[in-house]
Symmetry: C2
Subunit: 337 residues, 2 copies
Amino acid sequence: MLNQMTGKQSIEFQEAPHIISSASVVGPKEGEGPLGEWFDLVAPEADFGEQTWEQAESTMQKEALQQAIGKAKLLQTQVRYLFGGDLLAQLIATSFGGEETNTPLFGLYGACSTCGEAVALAAMTVAAGYADYAAALTSSHFGSAEKEFRFPLGYGNQRPLSATWTVTGSAAFVLAPKGGHVRVSGVTPGCIVDMGTKDNMNMGACMAPAACDTIYQNLMDFNRQPQDYDRIITGDLGMVGQRILIDLLKEKGFDISAQHMDCGIEIYNAEEQDTHAGGSGCGCAAVVLAALVLPKLRKGIWKRVLFVPTGALLSKVSFNEGQAIPGIAHAVVLEHC
Amino acid sequence: MLNQMTGKQSIEFQEAPHIISSASVVGPKEGEGPLGEWFDLVAPEADFGEQTWEQAESTMQKEALQQAIGKAKLLQTQVRYLFGGDLLAQLIATSFGGEETNTPLFGLYGACSTCGEAVALAAMTVAAGYADYAAALTSSHFGSAEKEFRFPLGYGNQRPLSATWTVTGSAAFVLAPKGGHVRVSGVTPGCIVDMGTKDNMNMGACMAPAACDTIYQNLMDFNRQPQDYDRIITGDLGMVGQRILIDLLKEKGFDISAQHMDCGIEIYNAEEQDTHAGGSGCGCAAVVLAALVLPKLRKGIWKRVLFVPTGALLSKVSFNEGQAIPGIAHAVVLEHC
């Protein structure tokens, strides 16, 4: 048994697993955004031909997984374990998205950080020799998420400028001991951080302290400076959360303003698309990883990035009972190879 | 990197991690059941002194985790990763139960199979050298679960005899490379199995096919017969699901009727306590593992058991949209040592 523990809470893989393929599937609004041409599939309608938003989300997951497995030139049966999750109660998008795969499923929930959690666990599984191939799969859907967390769409509720827009999208990643040009060299799983923030229309503020905590710990555990990363990429802090994160990390002695990028800011043209603070959701970080981050790593344009999906641990019930919205963020170190 | 893959979907650990401590916390109804005296804490009231059922569930989790860590003679900070989950939307019992630990959290959802998923991932993490100590933590609460999945308690809905009673309980387990007298020698993570069953008052029937699938695969992957286990222990099939499971496995050539035990049947005196088909919930398998199964393994009364928590992937939304209730079951091989 190798000791691969690094610092307080990180893992540095002795034999780093590789992300050998990825695929992204999005809705029409995401297709109209600045990354539109880089997604593998842009659906003409957000319902993906299904009867409900939840089924549409499951269909996105199936498409993303099939495409990622296809790109890896594998059969579905060669993927030994699937790590998947979504934002919905009891993960129904994943339950019905993954049920035809006949692949053992580890269901995960980390709110919008789930993509980081899934890639981290898939990497840990492959690096330990538990699987030749493992897949990570996450999704979110604007229609199903608004219904789950806020107001029915038909209600036409107004949204403050601090609100984010849940991305309709799903991405899948296949990990293996070797292949491709991107490796997962380490992970920093995150703790829950609760600063008492209660505004479900300002998720960036809820998540920024958790992002700060995980990024700070990653820098400490690996003994790195921000400039050791070409980019430090959060999931969906949006424009409000980004400012808070940069300020919080400055207080801890690290200036990441030159390296920071946020998937939620990248995915939409906020002003033209009326998405306010940016995109959010499990699908946001996932599709930006597949469509933008991994291609730049594959080509070597970026050599090393810290990918930090961020989650707001919000539910209708806890929110209505007056509880705060804690945050969590899971970091994955990705390197060109 | 060791190849620890066994058969189609199992892992056989080269260096089996140990469950070095466990603790169980339950409500008064569970305390009145046949296992009452074996639980570490029986609360006098099901509200655990809190304002809401959800907060009560979080409090149970905190108590169980603290006790398990205390029994292991560890500090909270020595537990490197926590694998936790519950039945509620967005895992709020775990989010608020785990937020004060300052321990990196992998949030999991596998319905009532979550205890199996959590112990499996904690074992995989310790066996790979990613942590000296990892903890698994799950819970369910009758009050929060009925509200989440069925009817408000105040409505006084009648329940058919096939219905199960959600256990109010939480259990925590600490895993380490050595120590204690129970090791996790292998795991068989399960696939989603959907037979089209739609009755949320007969969860045993929804889960039995998944239990059958995982147990069958475990026997095949490890090349074992049912009698190679002292017990094959499902989570919460109840009396209806038990009959279906035994019949389904007979069709596949295995008779487990002599070995089978179900945590949901063990935890209550069904007739006296009016619990119909038995207990259920994430907490059911967890507290029975802590209070009944692990002590028998520690003493060597049982040498090897297959512990198979079973989950019904049910949500209000998917149920109301007419979807079926798929099942999933994750198996863990536990041995006296």
